[in-house]
Every structure is written in structure tokens, then in C-alpha cells.
Symmetry: C2
Subunit: 211 residues, 2 copies
């Protein structure tokens, strides 16, 4: 059992490392960021880093989970008062894709996590947070569908919401991975978003007609 002060100082140091890592990640130019770089920036030894994080993956995961949490906290509420469910859905989809396109590491971690949860050795707490954030994002899409149903905009049986949600989820992730892993660097944002719109239009078209 640690005293209050020590706990406080430990948390502070953790934040320092995360901050250092984030600043390096964000401007990682030609060469990728190394643990030693982070240690140097945080004014700590390399060994010390491993006292706070299980490895680089965990650091990335935590940084990016912070971002997702922020996303859910600040960005999503904007759509709460949206006009039509379709618009809300489209808005969310673009934001979601944009968000992950900005840092492929998070997406890799998430996908990796969903595929084979324990290939990266993240801490228990980080795993829990990933599950939580994933579920929260899932419930957002579910809510959008429900919103559409309640409004009479989407003709969708309640039992099919989950299937649709998975479908949307898969579609968005598919688009993201397409552009992250297969797509060229030169792939322009514009193209991505027009692609999303095409897909979503078909999707929504179906929703409005179904059953």
C-alpha cells in the first residue's frame, strides 16, 4: 500500500512519460520514435519507462484511448441534436473514419485486439479500457439506429439493429483498413470521404426500404 503522496507522484510521472511520448509520436517525421527517445524526452532512463508501461504498444494504446475518450466526450454530443438519423449517421461515420485515419497505430491496436486480444501484451487495465471504449462506440451506432427507428425514418425491426450495427461497423473498419493498409499514401481525403458517402448512401437506402 502506497501513501497518498507517492501515488500522486507516480501518476504525475506516468503523465509526464505519456506527454513526452505523445509529443514525439505526433511529429514523428522520417524515423519512428524509439523507447530511448521517449525516455530521453521524459528525462528518465529506459528502464524506468518499463516500470510504468509494459511497452511501446501500451503507451500508444493509452495515449490513443485518451483520445477516443475525448472523442466520445466532446465530439459525439454535437450530433445529439441532429436533424435526421441519416445525417447523424453520416456525420458520425466521417468522424469515426477521420479519427482513425489520423493515427494508424490506434486502429492497428484496436483491430489486433478484436482479432486476437492478447498478441500485444497490454496491461489488464488497458485491455479493460479498450473493451469499454469499443462497447461505447458500438452503443453509439446502436443508438443512432434506434433514433432512426423511433423517428420512423429507418424501417428496421428491433431485432435487426445488431446486425445492422455490425454491418456498419465492418463497413467503416473496412474502409479505414483499406486506406491505411492497402491504399497509397497519395490517397486523398476527398476520395476517402466520397467513398464513405457512396457506401453510406447505399446503406441508408437499404435501411429506409427494409422490411
Amino acid at each position: 500500500m502506497l501513501g497518498k503522496r507517492r501515488e500522486r507522484e507516480r501518476e504525475k510521472r506516468r503523465k509526464t512519460i505519456l506527454k513526452a511520448a505523445k509529443s514525439l509520436f505526433s511529429k514523428q517525421g522520417a524515423n519512428p520514435v524509439t523507447i530511448s527517445d521517449i525516455a530521453k524526452k521524459a528525462e528518465l532512463s529506459k528502464g524506468a519507462i518499463y516500470l510504468y508501461f509494459s511497452g511501446k504498444e501500451e503507451m500508444r494504446a493509452q495515449i490513443l484511448l485518451d483520445d477516443i475518450e475525448k472523442f466520445h466526450r466532446e465530439v459525439l454530443p454535437i450530433f445529439k441534436g441532429g436533424d435526421s438519423a441519416s445525417e447523424v449517421l453520416i456525420g458520425f461515420a466521417h468522424m469515426y473514419v477521420d479519427f482513425f485515419l489520423r493515427d494508424r497505430a490506434l486502429f492497428r491496436i484496436l483491430i489486433n485486439f478484436m482479432m486476437h486480444a492478447n498478441s500485444l501484451n497490454l496491461s489488464d487495465d488497458t485491455n479493460r479500457r479498450i473493451i469499454l471504449e469499443t462497447n461505447r462506440a458500438i452503443s453509439v451506432t446502436e443508438n443512432i439506429f434506434q433514433f432512426g427507428i423511433d423517428k420512423g425514418e429507418f424501417l428496421l425491426r428491433k431485432e435487426d439493429v445488431m446486425a445492422m450495427r455490425n454491418s456498419l461497423w465492418g463497413m467503416l473498419n473496412g474502409i479505414i483498413s483499406l486506406h491505411l493498409f492497402i491504399g497509397r499514401e497519395s490517397t486523398r481525403e476527398k476520395r476517402i470521404h466520397s467513398g464513405i458517402n457512396e457506401c453510406l448512401n447505399i446503406f441508408i437506402e437499404g435501411l429506409k426500404k427494409s422490411k
Copy 2:
């Protein structure tokens, strides 16, 4: 050799302890402050205190040296533009006495130090600082005498400055110790200061006539 950050943090911790000690010392009511009190206030263990200070005496000494330094830095310059050397001398004397009357511990440390240098086991650095501050205060009184001589206000041979300085020094310390050790608690500030004025008047009288 310690790294920059560690040195910074060590200094910060030292300051924290000193701050805690100071706040306790300043409001030490009925019962005196213990090391454990300080440790508790500083959110550290008792043992840790001894990693930063050789003991309570050293803490007191350092706190009070900080005060003396502040005194020399901020209070003394006020008199620099004084009218007559006599006024400057009187102003300084009152301040000096007031300063030490506020905390008898500093005075005891100083006297102890001047009598038998190493009875308290202060660190080398603290000893050095005491010597420095003592010398500085001495030079201040010397400067006042010189100021008076230059102005033609004090009729004093240059060779006698040191003797006069020691004399003043002894007088002030005598007054302080009189009130700190012998004087009753009920001794009023007023009485002290009128006493100082009496002594100084005689002193200055002599200065103006001497040689």
C-alpha cells in the same frame, strides 16, 4: 553525479520540507515542533528528513538563513538613500534587533556558532552560509560608519572603524540576548526600542565627538 532532473527534484523536495517546517515553526503554539510533525506535514517519513537535513538545528538554520538573506536583499537597501548616517545607523539597529527578536532560535544558532563553531552539527554548506551572512552584516555596519565618516558626520579615524563596528555589534547582540534570555515575556517592544535608542544615542554622541 546526478542527472539534471533528479537534482531539480531533490531541490524541490528539500524546499517542500523547509516550507513545512517553516509553517509549523511559525505557529508553534504550546508544544514545540517535532521532526515527526515536520515529516507528517511534508508527507514524508521521518527517515527521509535526515536524507535532506542533518537534524532540526540545520533546518532552523537554513530557514533562518533564508530570512537573513532576504533581510539583506530587501530590507537593507531601504536605508541606502538615508539622510544622515546617524539615522541610517539607528534604522539598521532597530531592524536588526527586531529581526532576531522574532525568532530566538536563529539568534541562539548564530551566537552558538560564533562562540564554539561546531557544537551543533550543521552541514558544511550551512556553516559556510552562516559565515557569509555574518560577514555581510558586519560589512553593512562598517559601510554605515564609512558613510558617516565620508559625510563628515562621524569624527572617526579609519583605523577605529573595526573597533566601533565590534562595539556596536556587541551592543546590539547584548540587547537582544538580554531580552531573549533574561527579559520577561511581558517585556514590551516599546521598552526594547527605547532602550536601543538610549544606547545608540550615547554611541552616536561618542562618535560625533571622538578624536
